[in-house]
Structure formats: structure tokens, C-alpha cells
């Protein structure tokens, strides 16, 4: 059976996609994931580097006109049709979800997004993914193939694997293949580049403020304390939605998933949607007035007190310890 991991090399996240796919293929697919990687690239891409990053030894290069995610779906659909490709694995995130979904629709296959792991059977694909707002994990059975899988963004935490000796199996030019969706309907594209999972995702020391910080002023004071102690600063959804902090600071589902070595949470209740964003933390210290909040059971250490006051004291202590 043919199966492919797909790296969209036309966007700035190629290295991250490759690393996440690598982790998933090693640990999330019982060794039955893709044997080859399809790398899409454009003229201006560093092809050598893309090949070097690929998560499998075998690499197939496809040159494309690039553009929006759905532009590449036609190319993949042709592979499914012409070569009997039954499993496509995409990195998580925006374009992975779009590509997997559109591909399944166009080929009559099945899609599953945010995969935590898969098991490949002869006529079924089993896939685990979160459901019920991260309260539960569901096991899905996919019948119709090709199976189009986009993997959970948590695979972005994967370690970079040992270097592989890559073999370029094929190189094709599909720049002539037009996207199904009319590209001329998009005008005046203006990308404000940021790594939405950027500085927070890479953070080693993180402070997260929740609604328990009480007010805009409270949240700003937690942010100031975080700066003072040399930590990155994130917020829970209620804080972002109250416009007490910018949305790009959001930690948790639909925000950033972080994996700091040390995470201090202030006035955060510990609902699954937020906790998912910090669960990879090495150590979680929670400061909260409410000892019954779920965070008290899912943190390593808990201080029961006014979060803003404690974090400011902590900032003083840490700052002076560095002097």
C-alpha cells in the first residue's frame, strides 16, 4: 500500500511540519505510517534543505505554482487516483486541515483531523483524537480510502530525529496544474508574518494569567511581573476575550500549545481547553484563591492567595536572585 507524508514546502512552516510528521511517524503510527514524503516546493525554495528535513528516507519532489492550500489538493488527488495512494498524512494546523479535508472530499475518501495516533489496518484506519473540548479522547474508524489524516499540533513538540540518508525518488513539475478554486478571487494579500505558535511555543519559562487576575490592570501587572522574572507571558481564553490581552497571547485550544520547563499560572481555573496548552510543562506552579479549582489537582505546586500579589513578590525574588 502506498502512503505519503506531505510537507508543504511553499510556506514558512516547512521545517516544523517535517519535524511534527517525523515524530508522528516514529511514535504515533505504530511504524505503519508513511514510507515516503511528498515535498511541495516553489522556484524560490531551498530544495536541498527541504529534502534534508524530510521525515522519511524516500522523498518525492513536486514543483507547484504554490498559493493557497487547496492548490495542492488537485496534485494529491491525482496521486490517489493514478497510483492508488491510500494514506496521506499532513502536519497539523491550518493548511493541514484544509488539505486533508478537501482531498478526502475530492477523492471520496475519509478525513480525520488532529490525529494523536493512527493504526493502519487492511480495510480500516483507526485514529485517536480529542473530542468533547479535550475532555475525552475518541477512537475513530475510517472506512473509505484514501485516508486523509492531519496530525494533532501537539506533534510539533516532537524532537528532531537523527539525520536520515535521503533518496529522491522522483521529481515532477506540476506548475501547470491549476487549482480548482479560482485564485483570482483573492486580492491584496497581506501576510503579517508571525509564528502564531512562535515565542510561546518555544518558551522555556512561561507565566499564564487567567480570569482570576480579576481585571485588565491585574492582567497587565501579571504581564509586567513575567517580564521582570524573564518569563514569557500568555493568557487564558476568558482574558483574551475580555480584551485584557492580545489574542496572540492565548494559550490552550485554538491558541498556543506550550511546553515550557517551568510554567506559573495565575488565576487559571484549569479547564481542559486551557490545560491542554500547558500539559507538557515540566513543572506547573499555580497561584489561585480557590483550592477547589481543577488546577489545584493538575499543578505540581499550589499557592492559595491573591495571584497578582504573589506573582509580583515572586518577580521581586527572582529578579534579586539574578543580581
Amino acid at each position: 500500500m502506498r502512503s505519503l507524508a506531505v510537507v508543504d514546502g511553499t510556506v514558512g512552516t516547512a521545517a516544523r511540519q517535517a519535524r511534527a510528521l517525523g515524530g508522528f511517524l516514529r511514535e504515533g503510527s505504530s511504524g505503519h505510517g508513511a514510507a515516503e514524503t511528498l515535498v511541495l516546493y516553489r522556484d524560490e525554495c531551498d530544495v536541498g534543505r527541504l529534502v534534508e528535513q524530510a521525515p522519511t528516507r524516500g522523498v518525492r519532489l513536486v514543483k507547484t505554482a504554490g498559493g493557497r492550500p487547496d492548490a495542492i489538493v488537485g496534485i494529491l488527488a491525482a496521486l490517489a487516483r493514478d497510483e492508488g495512494c491510500r494514506l496521506f498524512i499532513f502536519a497539523g494546523g491550518y493548511s493541514g486541515t484544509e488539505s486533508a479535508t478537501r482531498l478526502a472530499h475530492r477523492t471520496g475518501g475519509a478525513v480525520v483531523t488532529d490525529a494523536l495516533s493512527i493504526e493502519v489496518g487492511s480495510d480500516r484506519l483507526l485514529c485517536r483524537r480529542h473530542v468533547y473540548s479535550k475532555h475525552m479522547v475518541g477512537r475513530f474508524e475510517l472506512s473509505a480510502s484514501p485516508w486523509c489524516v492531519s496530525i494533532d499540533v501537539s506533534w510539533g513538540d516532537a524532537q528532531t530525529a537523527a539525520a536520515l540518508e535521503h533518496v529522491v525518488l522522483s521529481a515532477t513539475d506540476e506548475t501547470g496544474t491549476a487549482a480548482e478554486v479560482d485564485e483570482t478571487r483573492f486580492e491584496d494579500l497581506e501576510l503579517t508574518q508571525s509564528t502564531p505558535t512562535g515565542d510561546l511555543a518555544q518558551s522555556r519559562f512561561l507565566v499564564v494569567a487567567g480570569a482570576g487576575a480579576g481585571s485588565r490592570e491585574g492582567v497587565e501587572r501579571v504581564a509586567a511581573a513575567a517580564r521582570r522574572m524573564g518569563a514569557d507571558f500568555g493568557v487564558s481564553r476568558p482574558v483574551a476575550m475580555s480584551a485584557w490581552a492580545p489574542v496572540d497571547r492565548l494559550v490552550g485550544v485554538s491558541g498556543t500549545r506550550t511546553a515550557p520547563e517551568l510554567c506559573v499560572v495565575v488565576g487559571v481555573s484549569g479547564a481542559p481547553a486551557l490545560y491542554w496548552g500547558i500539559e507538557k510543562a515540566g513543572f506547573i506552579a499555580a497561584i489561585d484563591l480557590d483550592e477547589r479549582a481543577p488546577i489545584a489537582k493538575s499543578a505540581d505546586a499550589v499557592i492559595l492567595d491573591d495571584g497578582v500579589m504573589v506573582i509580583e513578590e515572586l518577580a521581586k525574588i527572582i529578579a534579586s536572585s539574578r543580581e
Binding site: G212, S215, E217, S242, S269, D290
Partner: protein, 480 residues
């Protein structure tokens, strides 16, 4: 900071130590109000005088020290513990007030499972006490919505009541004895006995004083066996509130004591029960509890009474038990409420009153009609009865409005106070009581003289006798 404020802070630091006197600007602002002005708070607007300090007392002696100091210098003192007040009782109405916070006095001193009573300091959260006594298979029987947040001192000071009151009573039925400190520093202890006839029951000078006479530092409450396995949840839809009140009355006068006996009108009910109750119907809810035989007999008695009213239709009891399990307000709900208010400008307010069986439906109908007719921007107006007695019941008006065309500081005067006025006027007209269990605070003091009538003489006398310098929570209960 003026010299006056500095002097106050210095005096407090001398009594409590520097660490226990909070002068953080944000905390002082937030300490100038309670949930009555939450709309201002959410918008970061503070219109009340900012207190000079929050004094964190750790012992009865420290409370006495602070009160003596304040009494000597004529400084207004606002007593607080869990800060869940809703009626302005915690507002610092006078510049340079001292907020005396007893939340640090949080020791459970005794759980006496033989004599069925527990003693704790004022800053013990009710939830903590309840969890501890449940380890002994016991319960306080007290379960207000604020249970996760409210502390025993504040609950006593505001004459609180819980959702299980129809069986266990209000806090006044639970308090056995207590310790309180008066403005001159006198510490008084009322001993714990089953009953006594040694003159007036002076516990009632303290219970419900809302920090206007004394500071409650310790309470002893009754305990009861905790037998949740016997609980029977009953729910019914009913076509009209009038019939609903009639069913409640029959349950009470026939001698049944369910722990929960509630009646929701269609508007209020829709907020909780729309997933199983058709639009336009009211909802009756009962919980029978206690020893298995009593719970069973109570449930059967209620079912027999309801059966006499063919318009009542039973609903699956798991809807009721699930609803009941999510009734309390913790920090999560408070956070979600803030987010909602900030984004939509829509705010929820309540006013709870009581009346006898003969007038409660009139109070309900007239007040609601007037609110809808007279107040702009109402998005929901309804209510429920949640605490019943042999001679009558309460009415908990629950209403939402959009705050439009006015600043955060005008929300109370434009909407909340006019609604309170309507409810108080209608309640007084029919001879009901203008506050059932939140306390008078500052919000409903304009109607306190009418509420008391000739007995206001006693209230004024208490204030004169115990707080002659008027330093205790100015503007609360007794108008400033």
C-alpha cells in the same frame, strides 16, 4: 496619600504588623465595592471613596485592636470575609475607611460529632467546613449558591439562607453560639446550648447585623447526618405560577419538609430548564432528603399533593439532580459572567423579597408587570420562589437588562435602583418583607423605615447602644 491616610495605615501596622495592612491601589479600589457595583468594576470605574487600607486580621485580639483604634479616631470600618455580598454592604461609603478582612481567620476549631455542632473562625469558607464535616458523615445543611466562595462570618452577618432551607432553615436556625467584637473592643461570647429562656435571644442582635453593630469572629453551627443516598429529586411543569404557589403551600401546610421546594416562572426557568421544559411553563422542584423512611414519605406526600393538580406533569428526575449539582457559583462562573457583561453590556441582577401565601402571587405579578412597563432595555424579567415556610414563601426576582446610553457609573441609578424601588414598593404595599436573604446592604436602605414601621425604634436603639460613634459600616442597614 494624605496625612490622614498615612496615619491610619501606620496605626493599623502597629496593631497588625506591616505585612497585614494592604495599601495596594488595585486592591483598595476593588475593596471599595462589592458585587452591587460589579458593572463599574468590570469597566474599571470606581465611584466610591477608596479605603485607606485593607486590614487583614488574624485573631480576635487583632479585630478588637483595630476596632478600638477606629472607634477612638472615628474611622469607618467595613467588615468582610468572603466578599460575595451583592447589596452594597461592603462599599466604603466614607473616605479613608478601613476594610477589616477576617478571611485569614480560617481555622476550624472543633467538630463535635457527638453533640452535633462545629465551631470555626469567621474566615472559614463554608465549602471547607462542609467538606470537613462530611468526612464525619455530617453536613451543615447550609448550601447557598455562594458556598464555594462565602465565609462563615459573612454568611452569619447577612442572615444568609441556603438552597436546603425548607428542611434545615436559614443561618439563624443553625447558629448555636458565637463570638463577636464590639466597636469599643469588647469581646462577647454567647455559649453553645440547645435552648435557653434567659431573656431575649441576643444571638439575633449579632446575626444579620451586616457589620453595623459588631464584628463576628467565631461561630458554632449545628450539624446533621449527611445522607445523600436517600435524596429523591422531583420535578414538574405547571401551567401557572398561581397553581405553583398553591402546590408549595399545600406541601408546607400538610407538614412536609422537603429540603428544596422551588417554583420557577417561565422566563427564569428558561435559563435553566429550556432543554427539557416547553416554553411558557413554570417549573416546580422538590428534593426530599433525610433518613430513608422520611425521604420516601416526604416524596410520596408531595407526589400525592401534586397529583391533585392535573396541570402538573412530572419530568425525569435526572434533569433535576444534574441542574442541582451545577447550581453553585465558583470563580469560573464569575469569570464567564464578567466576559459576558463586558462584551454584551447585558447584566443580571436580582432582588429577593418574601410574603405570606395570601399575597405572594400579587407581589410577583405586580412587580413584574411594572418592571416590564416602566424600566427600559429589559431583556429578561422573571423569578422564582426558593424558600418556603408554613405561612408563606419568598420571591427571588431575576432580571437582565442592556446598559445603553449611559456610563458604567450610571448603571445603578438608571436601572437597578428603579427596579429595586418597584419591587420594594409592591412588596411593602402587600405587607411582605423587602429583603429575604441577601441583606439590606446599602442598596435597599431607602425603604428600611417603611419596612420596620414602628419597630424601627428598636433598630435605632441597637445602633445607638452598640455603635454610639457610628463607625461600623456607615450607610448599611441604617441610611447614612
Amino acid at each position: 496619600m494624605s496625612l490622614r491616610r498615612a496615619t491610619i495605615v501606620e496605626g493599623l501596622q502597629h496593631i497588625l504588623g506591616a505585612d497585614s495592612v494592604v495599601t495596594d491601589e488595585r486592591i483598595l479600589k476593588e475593596s471599595s465595592i462589592d458585587r452591587f457595583r460589579m458593572f463599574e468594576d468590570i469597566h474599571g470605574v470606581y465611584t466610591q471613596p477608596i479605603p485607606a487600607a485593607v486590614a487583614m486580621a488574624r485573631s480576635t485580639e487583632q479585630v478588637a485592636g483595630v476596632l478600638r483604634f477606629a472607634n477612638e479616631h472615628g474611622i469607618n470600618v467595613v467588615a468582610r470575609t468572603g466578599r460575595t455580598a451583592t447589596e452594597g454592604g461592603l462599599e466604603t461609603a466614607v473616605p479613608d475607611s478601613v476594610v477589616l478582612d477576617g478571611s485569614g481567620m480560617n481555622q476550624i476549631l472543633a467538630i463535635d460529632a457527638y453533640n452535633m455542632q462545629a465551631t470555626c473562625q469567621c474566615g472559614v469558607p463554608l465549602q471547607v467546613l462542609e467538606d470537613r464535616v462530611r468526612e464525619h458523615g455530617l453536613t451543615t445543611g447550609h448550601s447557598p449558591q455562594s458556598k464555594p466562595l462565602a465565609h462563615m462570618g459573612g454568611l452569619t452577618a447577612t442572615r444568609s439562607i441556603g438552597q436546603l432551607s425548607t428542611l434545615y432553615g436559614g443561618i439563624e436556625d443553625m447558629i448555636v453560639g458565637l463570638e463577636a467584637v464590639f466597636p469599643d473592643g469588647t469581646v462577647t461570647r454567647i455559649k453553645n446550648v440547645p435552648r435557653r429562656a434567659v431573656g431575649p435571644d441576643i444571638r439575633h442582635v449579632i446575626i444579620g447585623n451586616e457589620g453595623t453593630l459588631c464584628y463576628i469572629t467565631e461561630v458554632t453551627v449545628k450539624l446533621f447526618p449527611y445522607l445523600p443516598e436517600n435524596n429523591i429529586f422531583l420535578g414538574y411543569t405547571v401551567d401557572t405560577m398561581k397553581t405553583g404557589f398553591e402546590v408549595l403551600r399545600e406541601v408546607m401546610v400538610n407538614g412536609y419538609r422537603p429540603s428544596v421546594a422551588r417554583l420557577y416562572d417561565p422566563a427564569d426557568g428558561a435559563y435553566h430548564f429550556a432543554h427539557f421544559v416547553p416554553e411558557g411553563l413554570s417549573v416546580l422542584i422538590f428534593v426530599a432528603e433525610g433518613p430513608a423512611g422520611i425521604a420516601k414519605a416526604t416524596a410520596e406526600g408531595i407526589e400525592a399533593i401534586v397529583a391533585q393538580h392535573p396541570e402538573c406533569r412530572q419530568v425525569e428526575s435526572r434533569y433535576i439532580s444534574t441542574w442541582f449539582a451545577d447550581l453553585n457559583w465558583g470563580p469560573d462562573k464569575i469569570a464567564r459572567e464578567r466576559e459576558d457583561i463586558l462584551q454584551t453590556g447585558n447584566i443580571n441582577r436580582t432582588t429577593e423579597v418574601s410574603g405570606d401565601w395570601g399575597c405572594i402571587n400579587d407581589i410577583y405579578e405586580n412587580a413584574l408587570r411594572r418592571i416590564i412597563e416602566e424600566i427600559p432595555d429589559i431583556t429578561m424579567a422573571g423569578g422564582h420562589s426558593s424558600h418556603s415556610y408554613i405561612n408563606g414563601t419568598n420571591m427571588y426576582f431575576n432580571y437582565f437588562y442592556n446598559v445603553v446610553d449611559c456610563g458604567p457609573e450610571e448603571e445603578v441609578t438608571k436601572y437597578h435602583t428603579p427596579i429595586n424601588r418597584i419591587i420594594c414598593e409592591e412588596t411593602l404595599r402587600y405587607g411582605g418583607a423587602i429583603v429575604h436573604h441577601h441583606g439590606l446592604g446599602k442598596a435597599r436602605t431607602p425603604w428600611v423605615r417603611d419596612e420596620y414601621g414602628s419597630s424601627y425604634y428598636i433598630l435605632e436603639g441597637l445602633k445607638r447602644a452598640f455603635d454610639p460613634k457610628g463607625i461600623m459600616n456607615k450607610g448599611t442597614i441604617i441610611p447614612a
